[in-house]
Symmetry: C2
Subunit: 209 residues, 2 copies
């Protein structure tokens, strides 16, 4: 049945499982389209342009913002990050949902945009902050100082939990994945999301006469 | 996590599969409590008082309405039907959801009541009206006249589809059951349904200090 694609916003502090959950959702539903962010930061080893990020110069990024081609953008640790508008609008028109892996600033801006009525926002909480720190440390990539910075950012991120439609506590990845699937399935069934329903009921009633 | 029970309203025209779906949901989740309606009509063969209906005299029914012990009530085909309030409020306090098998009039009244903020309403459409009539006929219980009356009532019921939060087209019982499960699972995860979340986040943040 005809419908407009949704904007699924997934936010959480770093280390709460968001990237794994996003990947699992994409594997589950191949109609889901992932919003690849643009950024002015340099690629890390292994990062592919156009897949992990659209790597962009600061001048190009500002021009995209100036010409309203960014759905949202924000500066984080001195770098610019943003969600390009065009692929999201194309997906919506095709009835495909777009998944956003953005922080609370990105979530706020997308909700406040003209597309806000199509947003479903989900916040993933860690079971505990020591557990979150443990997960950051077992990545084994970062110094104590970097981890302290990430934990401070995490506390700031968590403080915005009450702005989201759904809040999940990720103490079990499989369970949280099932919860995310249920949310997507249910939101697609909401009457006001399904542009084709009016016509369906009209044909249902007329088909009987 | 602490939460207040939801009021799940399931409406559909007769023959669209509502009773089967309600039974399947009750089998799936034994924490779900079913709202047994009170009625002034006579029991049919096989109907058990307190299980299928609370069979009530017209005088007793009117007294229950007068003393505000009915969450909703309506007259259908000359008989009174209503949903007793006490078991619903007890289930809510215990964090258990209640399933209502009511028509659009019942749904409207429950949504408009003081408990309206806890309502999740779902309308189940048949795939077609000839299919609906076929299902009514294969029950083999009713005369042409009764079936014509039911079909007229069905068209009236369907005309209220746009008042519901979710609308499902039941062209496959298993699929529709899965949709209902997803809706219940998702609604329980909505931030504003989960009274315990504020405390959880508070402890999460304090536990780290």
């Amino acid at each position: 049945m005809e419908r407009t694609g949704l904007l699924i916003i997934l936010s959480s502090p770093s280390g709460a499982g968001k990237s794994t959950l996003a990947r699992r959702l994409m594997d589950w539903d191949d109609s889901l389209s992932f919003s690849v962010s643009a950024t002015t930061r340099s690629p890390r080893p292994g990062e592919v342009d156009g897949q992990h990020y659209h790597f962009t110069s600061a001048d190009d990024f500002r021009e995209l913002v100036r010409t309203d081609q960014m759905l949202e953008h924000a500066e984080v640790f001195g770098n610019l990050y943003g969600s390009p508008r065009a692929p999201v609008e194309a997906a919506m028109r095709a009835g495909r949902d777009t998944l956003f892996d953005v922080d609370w600033q990105g979530g706020q801006q997308i909700r406040a945009s003209a597309l806000g009525g199509h947003v479903v926002s989900i916040f993933v909480l860690p079971p505990s902050l020591p557990e979150l720190e443990r997960r950051l440390r077992t990545r084994g990539q970062d110094s104590d100082e970097v981890i302290a910075g990430r934990m401070a950012k995490s506390r700031g991120e968590i403080s915005h939990w009450a702005e989201y439609d759904y809040v999940l506590v990720n103490d079990d990845l499989d369970r949280t994945e099932a919860d995310l699937r249920a949310i997507l399935s249910a939101e697609r069934l909401r009457r006001n999301r399904r542009a084709g329903l009016g016509n369906f009921v009209k044909q249902l009633m007329e088909g009987d006469e």
